[in-house]
């Protein structure tokens, strides 16, 4: 089954890295197919940054997302630019402290940035908390796969910090109930 996952937030939150990690989890560790793309322009640095992953059991031909079924939104501006027109059967995981609107579709508010600050003192891992919540609430990739992909992708010396954030995200996602 084809999943289209769209990430949006502001530049510096690790929106593109989140997509790279999710794609790596799917393609390398879950042995599925994945294609990762991003908006690359200057407005993506500081403005609304966007990246996307297509995950499928079959080879991915058309690589762009056209109708995302999973949204991961980490800023109000990102919501307004990419999340507002989500289809009714999509699901949205949003950073509840940074996104004030709520979509019509099923959604899971996750206090990722607050939790990152409370738990680790580092807001920089908020995207990893979001990833944990995405995985536990949608099952789009396996938990083992995302763990390995996170460890592959983060700087040396920050492994424990990131795994702690990922686990916190899992819990927040499970508590929200299954979205997919």
């Amino acid at each position: 089954m084809r999943h289209e996952v769209l990430f949006s937030g502001f530049g510096g939150q690790g929106i593109i890295l989140s997509a790279v990690i999710l794609g790596r989890a799917a393609a390398i560790y879950d042995k599925k197919y994945a294609v990762q793309t991003q908006v690359y322009g200057p407005e993506a640095r500081g403005g609304a940054s966007m990246s996307a992953v297509v995950i499928d059991d079959e080879e991915i031909l058309y690589p762009e997302v056209s109708n995302p079924d999973i949204f991961v939104i980490m800023s109000q501006q990102g919501y307004e630019k990419y999340g507002m027109d989500s289809s009714d059967d999509a699901v949205m995981i949003l950073d509840s402290g940074l996104v004030f609107s709520r979509p019509k579709c099923k959604n899971l508010p996750v206090p990722a940035t607050e939790e990152a600050k409370r738990l680790t003192g580092r807001v920089i891992v908020a995207n990893i908390i979001m990833l944990g919540a995405v995985v536990s609430s949608t099952g789009v990739v396996s938990r083992e796969a995302i763990e390995k992909a996170v460890l592959d992708s983060v700087p040396k010396g920050t492994e424990d910090l990131n795994i702690k954030a990922l686990n916190a995200g899992f819990e927040l996602g499970i508590n929200g109930g299954k979205l997919l």
Partner: protein, 360 residues
């Protein structure tokens, strides 16, 4: 892995041991990756002061026997044009990667395009022939870069990897083979003149530093390599040979795949649009769509068009205003429908289905 990184890895696997370049969006990751890897492998990476110097360094390096490349995008590509002609005239093997962005001029640095397809073919002055490859997946970024080096070595001409921002910045899983087949240029045999072609129209290569005394010039030259700029026959024979050494082998060089060759509606694509066509073929088997995917656009493999005997139309989606459509149209009596798209995004399935409608 990202497309641009796959290109760099392909170059390293092919034996590239000289990179001279000047970073430019959206090709920068190629240079970045080469800068990271090459010094550790004992190979040479030089960031030059601009793109004119970059292509010059590549040509110079190639004459020392190096497998040399550069990577750039539109504005840098324009600057390279003069010396691309010099590489043609001096029969210098080299690989030029162009990760295309929106032009003309500085245009859309971060957006995708295919607007340089004619520039790589005809951008430098005078008559000549080159080879241009067009990947549509990250895997092909690797494979076709290897192929580009092998073709450059064999044909002693500039070979272009004409990719685009879409494929260059996309990430996909790739498989890097343990062993990659590589080819080396034919050496100059003892007793032969340095620009004396063999029956394949290609002279052996006299590597600098291996005992040859060779004069290399962009002026029209005789078999010895010395300028002879007023003799009609020498000029005519030389230019014709430079063209024919590539064009006479174009069926051998050709690299494409075809699907449903009994179809009435046929798409011809290269680069990203290949993926969109494959998507609609998968989603709409009822429409029985024909498809030609070119992995090598230049020399244009015109024979592929005649394999579609029932074709009513060739539809050609390109991220330019129809550059290869015009080339296709001059090789067939079947109507050619150009489907241009500017602005920086690849064609989506809806656009292609809509274009088909009037032919259904």
């Amino acid at each position: 892995m990202q497309g641009n990184i796959a290109c760099a890895e392909g170059a390293l696997a092919a034996g590239c041991n000289f990179f001279g370049g000047y970073p430019i969006t959206p090709s920068t990751e190629v240079a970045e990756h080469m800068a990271k890897k090459m010094p550790k492998m004992g190979r040479t990476f030089i960031q030059m002061e601009d793109e004119i110097a970059s292509i010059s360094s590549v040509i110079g390096a190639s004459w020392t026997g190096a497998k040399a490349m550069t990577a750039t995008s539109g504005p840098g590509f324009s600057l390279m044009m003069e010396n691309i002609g010099y590489a043609v005239m001096t029969e210098t093997p080299c690989v030029i990667v162009n990760i295309q962005r929106g032009g003309p001029s500085t245009g859309q640095p971060t957006m995708s395009a295919q607007g340089d397809m004619m520039q790589c073919r005809f951008g430098s002055h005078g008559d000549f022939s080159i080879i241009a490859l067009t990947p549509s997946t990250v895997q092909e970024m690797f494979e076709l870069t290897v192929r580009a080096f092998n073709l450059a070595e064999r044909f002693r001409c500039p070979v272009f990897l004409m990719s685009d921002e879409t494929i260059g910045h996309m990430r996909e899983r790739i498989v890097i083979p343990e062993i990659v087949e590589t080819k080396n240029r034919k050496p100059l045999e003892k007793g032969k003149l340095p620009f004396e072609a063999d029956s394949d129209l290609i002279p052996g290569f006299p590597v600098f530093g291996e005992g040859h005394r060779v004069h290399v010039t962009g002026l029209t030259h005789n078999a010895k390599g010395y300028p002879d700029t007023t003799n009609h026959k020498i000029h005519s024979d030389l230019v014709k040979r430079l063209v024919e050494k590539v064009e006479s082998k174009r069926h051998e060089i050709a690299d494409y795949d075809i699907l449903n060759n009994d179809a009435e509606i046929v798409f011809l694509t290269y680069g990203p649009a290949t993926r969109t066509v494959r998507q609609i073929i998968k989603d709409r088997p009822d429409l029985h769509i024909g498809h030609i995917n070119l992995r090598i656009v230049w020399p244009f493999p015109e024979e592929v068009l005649s394999e579609f005997k029932s074709a009513k139309v060739f539809i050609i989606p390109e991220m330019n205003l129809g550059q290869i459509s015009r080339e296709a149209a001059r090789h067939t009596n079947v109507p050619v429908l150009s489907l241009p798209k500017l602005g920086g995004e690849m064609h989506n399935p809806k656009e292609l289905l809509l274009a088909m409608e009037e032919y259904l």
